[in-house]
């Protein structure tokens, strides 16, 4: 079933895109991540121009996070004050990201930068998760209960001024820390078309030391708003949001996300984390190979 994408200016097999969305949605439902880190590279591999891929997958992450946010709000899993600060930082970050995007596009280095940032980020997060998941599996195999790590925030965070209370997170810290965290995630959202959940969640736990009950909900809250803003920024600056492509991805991913959420309840969480770590590392290795192997196309054309 071929369908013409009016902004990307090419025709794609609609079924392949819906299935791609469903696969990513399945993973995002199972692991609680947005899945943008998979959508953008897969779309590029399929032949969608990188800018259109990044712009359109941001809106897919918005769709995938909506039902998650509602579910977490209902059971009180969102710290709105913390979320608001993160969103504020995120919006500033998308602005900075848009500027960086345009600058890198002019220099012709946007694709390389996207690739390098992906490899660094996926490699780092993936290996951290792999180590943590393997340790957890070993411990549970031996039948011991995992010692609960003492929750505390990073000393650097404690040294920032203007402390305020975040009741739901159980924190008394400076709002500058989550603001900076949101800012960094916003830049990544704009550049890579990802929600940044898999950066945000570990950072909230290990850097800010938030109460674990509100971490995922608050991260999804931030993702929802920042990806929506990123879609708006793309629509008004790069004009690369393809609504047909986004629609196809959404149909697949929102369905997949619901199925994934049900599957997740049947698998032990440490095995889920192990699987996610392996997927993250595999995507990172694939992108690394794309950077170091001689590309099929030495020349690229852009409007000038």
């Amino acid at each position: 079933m071929d369908l013409y994408l009016p902004v990307a200016n090419l025709s794609v097999n609609a079924l392949v895109i819906v299935l791609l969305g469903a696969g990513v949605g399945l993973l995002s439902g199972m692991f609680g991540v947005g899945g943008g880190f998979l959508t953008t590279p897969l779309l590029i591999v399929y032949g969608i121009p990188p800018t259109v891929a990044a712009a359109s997958s941001a809106s897919q992450v918005t769709g995938a996070s909506v039902s998650g946010v509602f579910a977490h709000v209902r059971r009180g899993g969102v710290d709105f004050k913390m979320g608001g600060v993160l969103v504020g930082g995120g919006v500033l970050g998308t602005g900075a990201g848009a500027w960086a995007f345009r600058r890198l596009q002019e220099l012709g280095q946007i694709d390389t930068v996207i690739g390098v940032v992906y490899v660094a980020m996926l490699g780092w997060i993936g290996s951290l998760m792999l180590r943590e998941a393997l340790a957890a599996i070993l411990v549970s195999r031996r039948g011991e209960a995992l010692r609960a790590a003492k929750r505390r925030h990073h000393p650097l965070v404690a040294s920032l001024p203007f402390r305020t209370r975040f009741y739901a997170s159980g924190l008394y810290i400076s709002p500058l820390a989550p603001l900076l965290l949101g800012f960094a995630t916003g830049i990544l959202t704009m550049l890579l078309g990802i929600g940044g959940g898999f950066i945000l969640v570990p950072a909230m736990i290990y850097l800010l030391g938030m109460a674990t009950g509100v971490v995922v909900g608050t991260s999804l809250f931030q993702t929802l708003f920042v990806t929506a803003v990123a879609t708006m920024v793309h629509a008004t600056t790069t004009r690369a949001v393809d609504i047909v492509l986004a629609g196809l991805l959404l149909i697949g991913s929102v369905t997949g996300a619901q199925i994934g959420a049900r599957l997740a309840n049947r698998v032990k969480p440490e095995y889920l984390r192990l699987a996610l770590a392996l997927i993250v590392l595999a995507v990172g290795v694939r992108i690394l190979l794309g950077l170091v192997w001689r590309p099929e196309e030495i020349f690229t054309v852009s409007a000038g």
């Binding site: 025709s11 918005t62 012709g108 054309v301």
Partner: protein, 252 residues
Amino acid sequence: MRRRIAPLLLVPLLTGQAPVLVPDVSQRAIDIAYSFTGAELLLFGAILYPGGRVPAGEKPADIVVVVKGPTQSILLREKEKVAGIWVNAAHARYRSAPSFYAIASSRPIGQIVDERTRAIYELGLGSLQLSPTSSDAPEVQARFGRGLVDLRQRAGLYLEDPHAVQVTDGVLYRARVGIPARVPVGRFTAETFLIRDGRVLAAAVRDIDIRKSGFERFVARAAERSEIAYGLVAVGLSVALGWIAGWVARRL
């Protein structure tokens, strides 16, 4: 009255020395709609010789058909391996690279005309007038030119088919040219050349408009012109679809 005048007008045309080309194309406009996966153009026509047939004792003439898309101003970048990874390094600017170029002929173009004529009429992928704006060395320019042609050839945007034109009885010709789905929109031209002994005897041009139609045109225009509304619709669509899926799942 009119019936009498028409043949009279044709007489000087047919008794003149040079033959006349009467070309046409199967479609004067190609509409890109949701199911567009490319199109095939049929270019056909007649060669009107003085006297109505191929003059005795003359070699048969060749027909060359060129379909060109709107020219673009482009920046071509070349990747180079730097510190282990492939990054864009050198670049070249072109003021008028055709976005689409297909040439079909009855024989390989190199056997029909010499290099000078090829350059004048832009016949063949090796003779495109790209008008580079950078003042690079000729060998660098040649490398970039070859790179661009090779890149677009693999994308199906530049084509060269030396046997695609069929000439029937020396007076009727036809050729098929495939237009890929990735084609840019705009005004295309189909030029037909009648060539004998390396000289262009006659040439004629027809325009073809390639445009988006219906929903595709609406979406592409909205994305360009009312970008804020377009962005809001995109965000609204994703929120609505995500919310509906969650609502359905809770009730299953």
